[in-house]
């Protein structure tokens, strides 16, 4: 099993055509890898909404995030993929699981939704999905089939401190506020 995953994930870095190492666009390999990874994303996402147990939901979310990261590798966005793994799967998700552990009396606690609500949600979501698919099928994107070359981290880094400097600093301020706010909320009131 680990062998399979090793092969799949390592091939995601692909038989590349450029320095970033994404699978050559338009190749059969890319298609195969895409369907494997997309299958992983879809199954995990469905797992999240079907699972009743909150810890299992978190595990499904974990696999969904990991598959999305592999999808980023396929899209030649290696940096985003790695960041997705380290921040999302490694950090945020563990925070969530930590929250689950602190807030549930038992791991098998369930909060059932009413039947009617389930039906309504299903109708809404399936309808939304179908309409989105219809829209996507009709949309005429420019230069859709021509994938551009992958990025380099240096470009992203340079853009972050020139063009996107203000959002970058704002993100820092937001993180700062979040740290203070989280610390305040976690403070034990005596």
């Amino acid at each position: 099993m680990s062998l399979l995953v090793l092969l799949t994930a390592s091939s995601a870095f692909g038989a590349p055509s450029d320095a970033t190492g994404a699978a050559a666009p338009g190749s059969v390999l890319e298609a195969v890898l895409f369907y494997i990874v997309a299958g992983g994303v879809v199954v995990s996402a469905l797992g999240v909404c079907i699972a009743q147990n909150i810890v299992r939901m978190a595990v499904w979310l974990f696999t969904a995030l990991a598959s999305v990261a592999v999808m980023y590798f396929l899209l030649a966005a290696n940096f985003i993929g790695a960041i997705q793994l380290i921040v999302y799967a490694g950090g945020t998700l563990i925070l969530l699981v930590f929250g689950v552990m602190l807030t549930s009396k038992s791991p098998w606690i369930r909060f059932e939704a009413p039947k009617l609500e389930l039906v309504a949600a299903t109708v809404v979501c399936v309808g939304l999905f179908l309409s989105l698919c219809t829209l996507l099928g009709r949309a005429a994107w420019e230069s859709v089939d021509e994938a551009t070359a992958g990025t380099s981290i240096a470009t992203i880094g340079r853009a972050l401190i020139t063009e996107y400097l203000v959002p970058f600093e704002m993100a820092g301020v937001v993180l700062m506020i979040v740290m203070v706010g989280a610390a305040h909320m976690a403070r034990q009131e005596k």
Partner: protein, 104 residues
């Protein structure tokens, strides 16, 4: 089918979006709703990165946006988990239906 284009990725993003929405609508556990929100954000990220990949120019705006979203998602999760724990401290449950003191 074998030529993977932008639409393929957008369909995957649509699946993520709809499942995220479904999760938010049906789960009663506050952290479950948070998980749904993470799915939604990932749908947006997949969209951004895919558009970035299949776009002329190579400015990587999409990737940078995705980066910011990941950062903000981490911040959002930290605050939201903090709120959940506070709710749990006060109400001894994280069922969102039971947190209705402000409902008047």
């Amino acid at each position: 089918m074998l030529s993977i284009g932008l639409t393929h990725y957008l369909v995957v993003a649509a699946v993520l979006l709809c499942t995220g929405l479904f999760t938010i609508m049906t789960k009663r556990n506050a952290i479950g709703i948070l998980i749904g929100v993470e799915l939604l954000l990932n749908a947006a990220n997949v969209n951004l990165v895919a558009f970035d990949r299949f776009r002329e120019g190579g400015l990587f705006d999409g990737q940078i946006m995705a980066l910011f979203i990941i950062v903000l998602a981490a911040a959002e999760a930290a605050i939201a988990v903090g709120i959940c724990i506070n709710v749990y401290k006060n109400l001894a449950t994280v069922d969102v239906d039971s947190a209705r003191q402000l409902q008047g």
